[in-house]
Amino acid sequence: METNLYPELGSVENINSRFEAAGYICTPRIATVVYLAAALNKPILVEGPPGVGKTELAKTCASVIGKPLVRLQCYEGLDEAKALYEWKYGKQLLYTQILKEQLGEILDGATGLQESIRRLHSTGDVFYSKEFLEPRPLLKAMEEEHGAVLLIDEIDKADFEFESLLLEVLSDYQVSIPEIGTIAARSKPVVFLTSNDTRDLSDALKRRCLHLHIPFPSIELEARIVTARVPELEQRLTDQLVRFVHAIRDLDLKKAPAISETIDWARSLLLLHAERLDSRLIHETLNVLLKYEEDINTAEDKLSGILRQLETP
């Protein structure tokens, strides 16, 4: 195991403090799982509702360990030509045309068919070599010399078949290319897979990963997150805002606001130089927090009740 590759992820405490310095507040579970992933060389499958910081976790990890982030966004119809590698067909065709003349030179003076074929063989498979290989994200991550963070985003959007394609990468950190052979990772990347839970993933894929489910955070944690992200906002207002968001999440909504929306809202309040939450301010900025008209209506109906609740801590 290359335990020294990512010294920044060497202990749970270390991860906690370094991620916090990078503006990402870890729950004990997140820190533990990231530590285990680095120590056991296992991918992390991050699940949770949209906007709780799944992608952000991978980005922060990359910045903490100072390695490049290789990102693969999944979508329906994604296949190996877009995820693993592709041959540069155009280049191959062009070169065969150009090099046709060279054939004459190679075969010049050869006597008999046997001799010609032997000479041709000695030139090797020039057209299926690395020069003609176009690496896609997965292969790129394998080829990073000093390690990397590989983020496979929204794996649940890809087809079932694509998951099988990933298995080799996830368990052995290698890519097999029939024409060339097996390309193993130069140094094993830290792998994050994210899923929004739109469908069940296959058991084979799950088996190879550590599981991390990130739920909506508690009030205290979310307040810490907002403080870390929007430090300029007054602490009293931050607390008020987070408690308001939590009250909103309890309502029956089409889409509950996530952490990213809380942060956006905090930033908007900062821009507006807000001093305290009042119904007029909320009325004007609620669209930052809620994305559906009917949700906004539901929330506004309950607004006075929630505000009164906030007054009495």
Partner: protein
């Protein structure tokens, strides 16, 4: 470490019993995790193990509960909360103080200041003195936890407690353990003291209670680890074969869980083989690759595969009194596999027929089923129902449609309009008739089943969950082949 990983394996067995699938590879991972994190920080260990052992949110909840139950603070502290005597034992220095406190037990106040009533008595009574000299009793009175734990474990091994399989065996194993520990001596002493030494009797009884509590804890732990899963399997197995009409309301929760689990199994088995590729797109790389042989001229264009399956299921349920219970389970099952059969439409009838798909979209399945029963229940008229269905949905029935009709085909001697049924059969991919009555009853009395069979692709008996599972399995396998 070795002891720790033993415990970890027992925990994994416990989890498997709770229906969390854990492969040997997962166990290995868990052991790695435990050795990396150590056993000192309980919370951290929990988070780490959860990452390897719980793979879905549902399993995460199960895991969390199981972890708390299994790695709970040991039974010793639990017990001290329950019996006052136990608390004395945790801290031997308390023994003498406590014994002189009135109210601890009704009779203990009468004891001399020098020691407990039992010790006082031992000064004059050789039998009691001998009893107090026994290692087990000594350990009990002095609160020697180590010695007690060893005694309990030895007795558990002697009684074969780990062989426990059924909940009802608990008493029997407890008795055996107590016998193996030599509780008999205490029992005899209690009988001897009962009438003439109330205070000493109380004390002996407390010692016995304490011992019994420990034996019970040990047996229950064994049951939890070794048998609970099997008992659940046994109950589930039995439930799967019970006639659906006989499932009583108090079994509904278990039934719902069972259906969900069956559905999950089916959904993963069939869902993964679904193919979704786009229609009529040129596969450029493959075409160019093929063209390399012909000097770059693409003689043979290659296309991306053009399969896209849109299986559709229409469930038509008779919800008149006799069959309503069955309809409920069929609908619950069909809506539990929504992931794989997203285009399910459901209709309910007794005499008039109506589409109820919308209700299932809006309400939780159980509520929807109840609403259907309330709304459409009544006397059956298949003729009316078939013509309603044909008016409502005949145009939507095509070669990708599977129609499932659930009913007993008892039509109160009126015309069942089999011509409409024949028309539906001609249009659809498959017409399946599920009859909750057993085959021998088909065609008796007002049953039209024998006529109906001729107009179905499949007609089958369906009266328990197992049969239902088999049918849905078949349905999914079919929809794959379209």
């Amino acid at each position: 470490m070795a002891a720790g990983s033993d415990q970890l394996l027992a925990f994994i067995k416990f989890l498997r019993g709770k229906d969390v699938p854990i492969s040997p590879a997962d166990s290995l991972d868990a052991i790695h995790v435990a050795s990396l994190l150590g056993y000192a920080d309980r919370e951290q260990l929990k988070e780490g193990l959860a990452a390897t052992l719980a793979k879905t949110r549902h399993e995460d909840v199960v895991f969390s509960e199981a972890f708390e139950a299994f790695f709970a603070p040991t039974s010793r502290t639990e017990m001290s909360a329950r019996t006052p005597l136990g608390s004395q034992q945790d801290d031997p220095s308390l023994v003498s103080q406590d014994a002189s406190q009135p109210g601890n037990s009704p009779a203990s106040g009468t004891g001399g200041a020098g020691g407990s009533p039992l010790e006082e008595l031992a000064k004059h009574n050789d039998e009691i003195a001998a009893l107090l000299d026994q290692p087990l009793v000594k350990a009990l009175t002095s609160g020697d936890e180590g010695a007690l734990a060893v005694a309990v474990e030895n007795a558990a091994a002697a009684a074969g407690v780990d062989q426990i399989r059924l909940f009802t065996q608990r008493g029997q194993y407890m008795r055996r353990m107590l016998d193996a520990m030599g509780e008999e001596a205490l029992r005899d002493a209690a009988i001897a003291l009962e009438n003439n030494h109330a205070a000493a009797f109380e004390e002996v009884q407390q010692l016995r209670d304490n011992l019994r509590q420990r034996a019970r804890d040990r047996v229950e732990r064994a049951w939890m680890v070794h048998a609970q899963g099997e008992t659940e399997d046994f109950l589930d197995g039995a439930l799967a074969e019970v006639r659906l009409g006989n499932i009583s309301p108090h079994q509904m929760a278990r039934t719902r869980k069972l259906i969900e689990r069956m559905a999950r199994k089916l959904a993963t088995r069939h869902g993964r083989r679904r193919r979704r590729t786009r229609r009529g797109q040129l596969n450029v790389p493959a075409t160019l690759r093929g063209a390399a042989a012909t000097d770059g001229i693409p003689f043979e264009p290659r296309w991306k595969r053009t399969e896209r399956r849109k299986p559709q299921v229409m469930a038509v349920c008779d919800v008149s009194g006799s069959v309503a219970a069955y309809a409920k389970f069929l609908l619950m099952f069909l809506y539990a596999v929504q992931d794989v059969l997203p285009r399910t439409r459901s209709f309910a009838f007794s005499s008039i027929l109506g589409e109820v798909t919308q209700w299932f979209a809006e309400l939780p399945v159980e509520d929807a089923v109840n609403k259907v029963n309330r709304f459409y229940g009544g006397a059956t008229d298949y003729g009316r129902a078939f013509s309603d269905l044909s008016a409502l949905a005949l145009n939507d029935i095509n070669r990708a449609t599977t129609v499932i009709i659930l009913g007993d085909a008892r039509n109160n001697n009126s015309d069942p309009r089999l011509d409409v049924l024949a028309e539906i059969k001609a249009r659809c991919k498959r017409l399946i008739w599920l009859n909750p009555e057993s085959r021998t009853a088909w065609g008796t009395g007002d049953s039209e089943m024998l006529q109906v069979i001729r107009h179905c692709h499949i007609a089958t008996e369906c009266n328990n969950l197992k049969q239902l599972e088999r049918i849905v399995d078949k349905l999914l396998a079919d929809s794959r082949g379209t």
